[in-house]
Symmetry: C3
Subunit: 480 residues, 3 copies
């Protein structure tokens, strides 16, 4: 592999420079490099993400470069779209009747031609890392090299060492969690568990499909839930019991955590009568937006109570307005780069939740969101007090060098390091996993180096913290 790949005529090593992301100040850089050296080879703990468990279960070769690297990555095609490139031209799978580009080579070339658009974005870093460090491409990607690089990658993906399980091992992943809805059957996870392969892939229980009345699959999945559990899910107590059964099933299959993604941080405790009333409405598809919010808000607390019992760690990420662009949604569906962050209020929103279960030191709630104003104003002060609450990482649009640096600068003083839980990559793009973890480790090293050089931490402390942030804290927080 070749660290000088993205060179250009004037500067020979400005992509994947060994000191990339470290401060230009020589003393900080030297310390950052020393810290990074001590953590760069630690195993990857990937406790939250969206890779496809079938990859690890079936271990089949990945598709061509476009299907593997471009089409599923909404970070990639949203930027092209913002600059006037139709999603059809990128081959983004569309609803019936809409024709999209089928030729992967053509899609790859379109991407290559526009690669300059990603300058300054984390997508550029991740893709450059994947191309050079993982795939070993040794020339710059552009219109002229696109064809050759396409063939090169396509051939690589056909080799033994680029099969999913091989990459999993070469990425040095110790544990990786995927995310499945409550009614999924977890066939792939069962297959992995019984396959004799020693890679650790866990599922995560994400019951949004059966706790959010506005989820597109709510009605359908409630039907499946009833069948799967033998419970009358239209009756409140049985509905809760059905959820408990699914949690138990996920836990048996390996899950250590649940995951909840709602539009807001609103939580509430309703009377049993009110709960039954809303459940009935929800099943009938008759909830108003306000009623759906009440139901979701109460269900977060119900799940938190269940976590107190069954020990599953609770991840809550909020504050995303999904499918902001209705035209794109109508043509291409969800997860198409048009989910936009919104303002979040944890202080009032989480108060019922935290007053109910936040003092339980055996419960772990990991919260994250994309409203950075909550870092120093809400999340850090709350996590710096409530035993159950921990701060998840800089997320999504902020899973980036500047974003992570702002995160550390804004949460550390009120919450310390030990109320955070390390990085999660939250990715659908398999090759971005090592890249993303590498960026996180570099940014943390650089952050700690600042504190060492400003004499706020000793080097011994910084090294201990770096290892904790990279390895011990996520392992411990997610109970891996």
């Amino acid at each position: 592999m070749n660290g000088q790949y993205f060179s250009d005529n004037q500067i020979s090593d400005h992509r994947l420079h060994p000191d990339r992301l470290f401060s230009a100040d020589p003393s900080i850089r030297a310390v950052a490099r020393d810290i990074y050296t001590c953590i760069k080879d630690l195993p990857i703990i990937s406790p939250h993400g969206h890779t496809d468990p079938r990859w690890y279960a079936d271990n089949k070769r990945f598709d061509n470069p476009a299907d593997f690297l471009i089409k599923p990555d909404h970070y990639v095609f949203r930027m092209l779209y913002s600059q006037g490139v139709p999603m059809e031209a990128v081959g983004v799978p569309a609803k019936e009747g809409i024709e999209v580009e089928q030729n992967p080579r053509k899609i790859w070339k379109l991407f290559a031609k526009n690669f300059h658009l990603y300058r300054g974005t984390p997508s550029k870093i991740w893709m450059a890392h994947a191309l050079t460090e993982v795939l070993g491409v040794d020339e710059p990607l552009n219109e002229n090299t696109a064809d050759r690089i396409y063939d090169y990658i396509d051939a690589k993906l056909g080799t033994e060492e680029f099969l999913p399980r091989s990459l999993f091992k070469s990425f040095n992943i110790e544990a990786l969690a995927t995310t499945e809805f409550a009614v999924e059957t977890l066939e792939s996870h069962k297959k992995i568990n019984t396959s004799g392969w020693d890679g650790r892939v866990l599922t995560t229980f994400r019951p949004d499909d059966i706790t959010n009345p506005e989820h597109p699959c709510f009605q359908k999945h409630m039907g499946i839930l009833a069948e799967q559990t033998g419970e009358d899910v239209s009756s409140w107590d049985s509905y809760l019991e059905a959820i408990r059964k699914r949690r138990a099933f996920f836990k048996e299959t390996g899950a250590t955590a649940t995951d909840h993604g709602f539009p807001t941080a609103f939580t509430t405790i309703l009377s049993k009568e009110k709960c039954q009333e809303l459940l009935t409405k929800a099943i009938a598809g008759a909830c108003s937006p306000e009623e759906a919010e009440l139901f979701r808000g109460h269900m977060l607390i119900e799940n938190a109570r269940m976590s107190c019992d069954d020990g599953l760690v609770m991840q809550i990420h909020v504050g995303c307005l999904r499918n902001h662009n209705t035209e794109v949604y109508n043509k291409f569906g969800s997860d198409k780069g048009c989910d936009i962050p919104t303002q979040v209020n944890f202080v009032n929103g989480f108060r019922p939740l935290l007053c109910e279960v936040g003092n339980n030191p055996n419960l772990t709630i990991i919260a994250f969101n994309m409203d950075e104003t909550t870092y120093s104003r809400e999340i850090a002060p709350l996590a710096g007090h409530y035993p159950a609450l921990k701060i998840g990482p800089a997320w999504w649009f902020h899973d980036s060098p500047e974003g992570m640096m702002r995160y550390r600068r804004q949460v550390t003083e009120a919450a310390g390091f030990y109320n955070t839980v390390g990085f999660n990559d939250d990715t659908r793009a398999f090759l971005s996993i090592p890249a993303r973890h590498d960026v996180a480790r570099r940014v943390d090293s650089n952050f700690l180096a600042h504190y060492v050089c400003e004499h706020l931490l000793s080097m011994t402390e910084a090294l201990e913290i770096a290892k904790d942030l990279t390895y011990s804290l996520p392992k411990q927080a997610y109970r891996l």
Copy 2:
């Protein structure tokens, strides 16, 4: 001109130092200097501002130093006012019956005496630049030198080279846009166009006077609009037709863009019946605040639709509470330094607008505001997706070194560089134009130098981006 003007006894070159605004780190500074060297002499594109078109049409000498540099600059007198200096003493034009200082020399001396108040503010940088780089003053401004400098500037302003058109040329302005309300007759622009002078001054169509029912001139200007266009502006279709005619007139006279400044980012699509109802009320001065908001919200979308047809670029700046101080407003009127930023919600507010026209790659909407929390949470994610949306510059109170640096750090990762459109100076103060563009170029050079030294960009890329941010992007985005 003398870069050492603001020297003091201990440090000889701390004002207008050639490396001002560059990082103290030697490697970053060296790179920043190299980038800056490549862009500092590029022509100025000034696509949004409030200089007086009569200056360029009539080419008469500017008034005395106080009338030219102090009285019209709300950045300048708001600071004096905040420290207890009455606006009357600064000669700020007041409503009838209120006596204000008439002696420009006295006003100038008052300013000079208080010049230390501006330490750390962009006003200091701009004024220092104007005094030393443009006017060639070569001693520090203070109580003792005020008289001498007054005479010196006054004499300068009487010379040929300080006439408006001469300065326009010596500032190396390639194109400059002013802003006029919908019913203005654009006499100065016509005069410029037919004068044979080759300076490019464009008008911008700002229809707030006829689309905001709460605009103080709404009723009066609607009357003028009816006369000018021969349309019955009380009838919805004819009202829209009247606006189209004015847009066409502005476009014929040179405009390439419209400009819209509303209190919030709220947009909505109303039925034709509702529109007619609100229009009737608006003309009668009978809109409630909520109705005015609805009307404005719908009119932004109507103007966006018209832009899809006539190709005028649409600028939208929102989130300013005008005339916060009623006492000052009652005595001195608008634009007196008491406009205050407010929280903005683009995600929900712009959704109807963007769902209606945001997928049109031939439309350009340039949005900016003063709520910096929207940078990474709203504006960058939205512009990184919608083809029509571009991000305007750090604005007003954030048109400053720290403000611009925060802007770049917070928008680049999610939107890249190519969904931004370069700088606009938005100024009423003619001499601040070169100063403001110089600050923007320096801050961008310094920002890019950080990325080069942290190995996120190659120098070739950084130079290309620097030229784009300074020249190509604004030229292209505003269709100049």
Copy 3:
């Protein structure tokens, strides 16, 4: 005292290094050090805090290390609590019937064992400063040294030089304000005033107990107020007169300022009839939350009017949701580390207040809060215009190196330096006073050094500003 105390095996001077908190860049560091050298020995002005006036009145020895340094410091025990250490184990005083640890040595050892949790937090800096710089401890605090250090401190606290008045002098405090509710009798302050001791300790008038209908002591204190003043506090005019009398009493006893801490920045002007109605309800304990908000909002303006008359400086700090954790509140009461910042809207909230009294250059209102988004969007633009409004310091969770740096970077450009009023420590922890002021001085020096090295300020200017921020501005703003 020993600056190398927190050394570890690898790095010998990373705690209390003489250059701590200064940039790693050698040129910035050199300038920062020069600026700091010029201000580090200036007297401490502590215009806002919560130390106990009895300390200075009675001058008795402080209790054991746990009672003195741990139990009263909510910064300290909130972090322990967040990591699962029960408050009972820290000996936090609880309500009747709840048993808490009584052995101070055991509490001290628990703290020592968990001292690593504070890494990266200001509590670590303050405690390290107190231990090494003030108490002269010369070994690291941990489980093994806890006993020995306990004995050492306990002995120190018994010496003459560690009596409250001795420390006050050795801290070089020129003036220190405590905070007392409206009906307090100020016996300690009177005792200090007549004691012949030349330490300057002032009270501050904090009438929240009689202006906030939701204050737990409202009814009780209104009764006391009536008695103290001989006014019928159930009648609006007499109620205001009673407040005026208490203000006069506080002023006679030495107060130069009032202090107001409400949940929001809401202000309003109500009719006299409405005021009487709300007062009646408030006394009856019958105010709805909305009515309480109205009453508080109006009372801020009444107190501002009184300040126009009696010259007391008005401090307003808002945006704290007190006692977020009801379980903790029920067991331990207020000020137990579960007060959480909330979003604040000064622009709309303060508008009635500022329109009423903001143009009065003889009034000083000092506003601060914990919603950092208000810095550049609201507080700096408002204070950069209204003569009466000044910006208080980075507060509470932001009284920290990163927090203070963000504060300066975000307020200076729109408000300048002279609309800020220097630091206040707001502390209950006596030994943290010199530590907190030292951190503020270092951060300001470092901030100014950046501006000097980026050629935005001359060294002469920076030194003048540093002295103003440290000494002249607070002295002047709080009329000390």
